[in-house]
Symmetry: C2
Subunit: 127 residues, 2 copies
């Protein structure tokens, strides 16, 4: 798989895929004879994992920890479990926050009459 196919599959720009290998977040991919980067499904799954983590506010450094664990032959199952559980709690907190952002906007949508008048009940709240 060339870089553009991997980038499409992962949902990341080509430039970003290169960048992640440059900074050592993922392993440097192998190269074709012409020097083209070649990717496999496991690499793509890692990129998807990073993309989703990044989209929800985890930093690059915070992505390194779980990714490092997956690759570390000496880690114990207990260590993997501890770090993943901590991350899971952070994600659940994000889910609650996202839900309240959702509810706030849903309220705006349902209270607006959607007509041509400029008044809208939400203005009293946010204006």
């Amino acid at each position: 798989m060339n870089i553009s196919a991997a980038s499409k599959a992962a949902g990341l720009p080509v430039k970003t895929v290169r960048y992640y290998a440059d900074i050592g977040l993922v392993q440097a991919p192998s190269r074709s004879d012409a020097g083209y980067r070649t990717y496999d499904d496991a690499s793509v799954r890692k990129l998807v994992f990073i993309r989703r983590s990044r989209e929800f506010g985890f930093t690059i450094e915070e992505c390194r920890e779980p990714l490092g664990l997956y690759q570390d032959q000496d880690r114990t199952s207990a260590e993997v479990k501890r770090i993943a559980s901590k991350r899971l709690e952070e994600i659940e907190e994000k889910q609650r926050e996202l839900q309240s952002l959702h509810d706030e906007l849903a309220h705006l949508v349902t209270t607006c009459r959607g007509d041509h008048m400029p008044d809208c009940p939400i203005i009293d709240y946010l204006g």
Copy 2:
């Protein structure tokens, strides 16, 4: 309310609160005699709205649109509704993505035995 109280209430660093007024994302706050910025509850609610939007990957420019609407005296209710509905769909897509990230890590946690052995079923998937 001084800037540090507003910053605590909004869940944003003081520097970031100043920055948002500097770039015109929120209105420049009024000042005390000594030149201190003073904030009210409506300003704090706007800052919370921005914080949550930013945490979930909306850019500063994408925050301007709904915030602008709230303040625009000439907008129609239909326009408010259209933009808020579009944003709501984006948020629902983010909720689905966050759920996938959650499930992926939850799988990691439940399949790990949590003992001192270094093997873990998730490695086959991501390693």
